[in-house]
Symmetry: C2
Subunit: 355 residues, 2 copies
């Protein structure tokens, strides 16, 4: 049980029971041949990593060399960096691959050319495929360019070709479940076509986004999933309908520091340095979080929106409750818009609890 009396300033609270449920739900959907390599970007803390270990998960994804080094230190030995390989970090890559099964992501021919000549870097090689998100990677139907990459990797003495990796980030900007399903199906179909085209190389397919992985029920054709956000979920995912309130494992508990009865607004200590400035649009308004619990004399469920954030201040518009119920020093429990960014900001200000 969470002891609210312990909380003096903005605190990220992680509900371990929900974390376990979220992991179990995702794992239960996967056929045994599909590798579960969760992205540890969201839960950049040791305790959540430990819960994954309880489930026997020892293959992980990270998004930077520094994160790889951090998780190597706490015992993870099979790590894919699902971010375009940064050729300036050769020294750290050398260090990592000396004691880690290291996966690297190649998003262009130039980096394949460079890294394939660096014999100290022994790694599994994934080619990043752009199925339409248009951020990084090679477009899925540029077969010639992709084949050039595969050949260089195959010919190299230091890289082992594993397959194609994509992050269909398009799903993060879609609001409706049906659109997310369509985008996921479209992205997966392109990956399968690619796999089929290059069948002689026996490539694996690795997919990543949480909205897609949360909605999918059939993973028979997928060799690996790398979703990360699902472990905590957040307001963005809740609003998309890819999770329910029962799946929200990470909230920020903030003290009330000012109350304006005329504007019907509450000011919390909890700003951009705690939540990040990520927002979503609900009914045409920018929303930076949702207050779901008021911890005062009693503990009551509420449903009120964070309407603005500055560096340390958060402003909550009270529309559904009587503002007179709230007092300076009371706590509000808030679902962050994007738990990945919030967890990153709240390192060292996190409380784990179970029911």
């Amino acid at each position: 049980m969470l002891k609210y009396s312990k909380i003096k300033s903005p605190t990220l609270t992680i509900n371990s029971k929900i974390v376990r449920n979220n992991i179990k739900t995702m794992m239960d959907k996967l056929p045994s041949i599909c590798i579960f390599r969760p992205h540890f970007k969201t839960h950049d803390n040791k305790k959540t990593a430990q819960i994954f270990k309880e489930f026997g998960i020892n293959k992980i994804t990270v998004s930077s060399v520094n994160m790889a080094l951090d998780f190597r230190k706490i015992g993870f030995k099979d790590i894919t960096i699902a971010f375009p390989v940064n050729i300036r970090e050769q020294k750290n890559l050398n260090k990592l691959c000396s004691n880690t099964i290291l996966g690297l992501t190649f998003s262009n021919l130039q980096s394949v050319n460079i890294i394939s000549k660096l014999n100290k870097i022994k790694a599994n090689a994934w080619i990043e495929i752009d199925t339409g998100y248009n951020r990084s990677g090679i477009l899925w139907n540029k077969f010639d360019e992709i084949e050039d990459c595969i050949k260089i990797i195959k010919d190299s003495s230091n890289l082992t070709f594993k397959g194609f990796l994509t992050h269909n980030g398009s799903t993060y900007s879609l609001d409706k479940k049906a659109d997310i399903i369509n985008s996921t199906n479209d992205s997966n179909a392109k990956m399968l076509e690619l796999k089929s085209h290059f069948t002689s190389y026996n490539p694996m397919i690795s997919i990543g986004d949480t909205p897609g992985c949360s909605i999918m029920s059939n993973f028979d054709d997928i060799d690996e999933i790398r979703s990360g956000n699902f472990v905590y979920y957040d307001l963005m995912m809740l609003e998309k309908g890819v999770c329910t309130t029962e799946n929200i494992a990470a909230t920020v508990v903030c003290p009330i520091v000012d109350i304006n009865l005329e504007r019907n607004e509450i000011v919390i200590h909890g700003g951009a340095v705690h939540f990040s400035k990520e927002f979503i649009e609900i009914d045409g308004n920018n929303v930076f979080g949702k207050a779901i619990k008021h911890i005062g004399k009693n503990i009551n469920d509420i449903d009120e929106k964070v309407i603005s954030l500055s560096q340390e201040h958060g402003v909550i518009k009270i529309t559904k409750t009587d503002i007179k119920n709230f007092n300076i020093g009371d706590l509000l429990e808030i679902i962050p818009v994007h738990s990945c960014l919030t967890a990153n900001l709240m390192k060292g200000k996190t409380l784990h609890y179970s029911f």
Copy 2:
């Protein structure tokens, strides 16, 4: 001189010479009776704090109790927390005021009532005045409520009434210099009227926002300024015209990890966990930063916009340079939109240099 070869991953670079110039420019404008109590939120690092010390600055502003404790540790003994007092942090406030000249900000009668009864907290008391920003504080013309606060403070044995403190944050959402001047004049006029109304209590006036303080030339009626962002400035301030490129002391240097010749886009390692997700609108488009230097085979000035940020990725649209000049592994120097949030995220990933 900054050694770019040292930079392997996203790095905040602070130009100490520009920091010194920015501090000197602000100090030179102030009459000797106006206290300069810079807000240390932007430069939450020891080296920049040290530069302030060189200028004889020993009174500072912070925005949280934790920051006050951090700066107390490195020798600052006169600290105002310019954030509505958080009554849950009594223990740390007790600790702080035992060896610090502590200023507290009261934004409502309720917190005055509570803290004035806590005898262990010996502090200077500022009443936060809302001159129209409508975030926290008491509206400037609520004379009765303000007087109630003053009287309780005066009657208490632990608090010393200092005066009225405001943060005219409205200037941050204004784009034109003329509008910023008007807003500043309006806010200052309200503070002066308030001072005049309560002249018998001999209140000080403390103002804070960087746009206003950067544009003002006459501070004769102001008792204290608390601006903070001015020490580094950023793209937001540059676009408002309250500083020039020569005043930009903090930039983020990021490696190129992917290049898309067809979309004319470059992907850098540099995302929301480095820059924050703050953006400004330029010509109707969201802009998350501006690349001003390309460090490749040669070092060239450029002028290209960061058009999107995800957690670790930044995408830069190349419109003014030939994209063929860029290579994987080259570095780009980028002005962040909001240096306060960037500096907070880049703790431990910062390089200081001078010319």
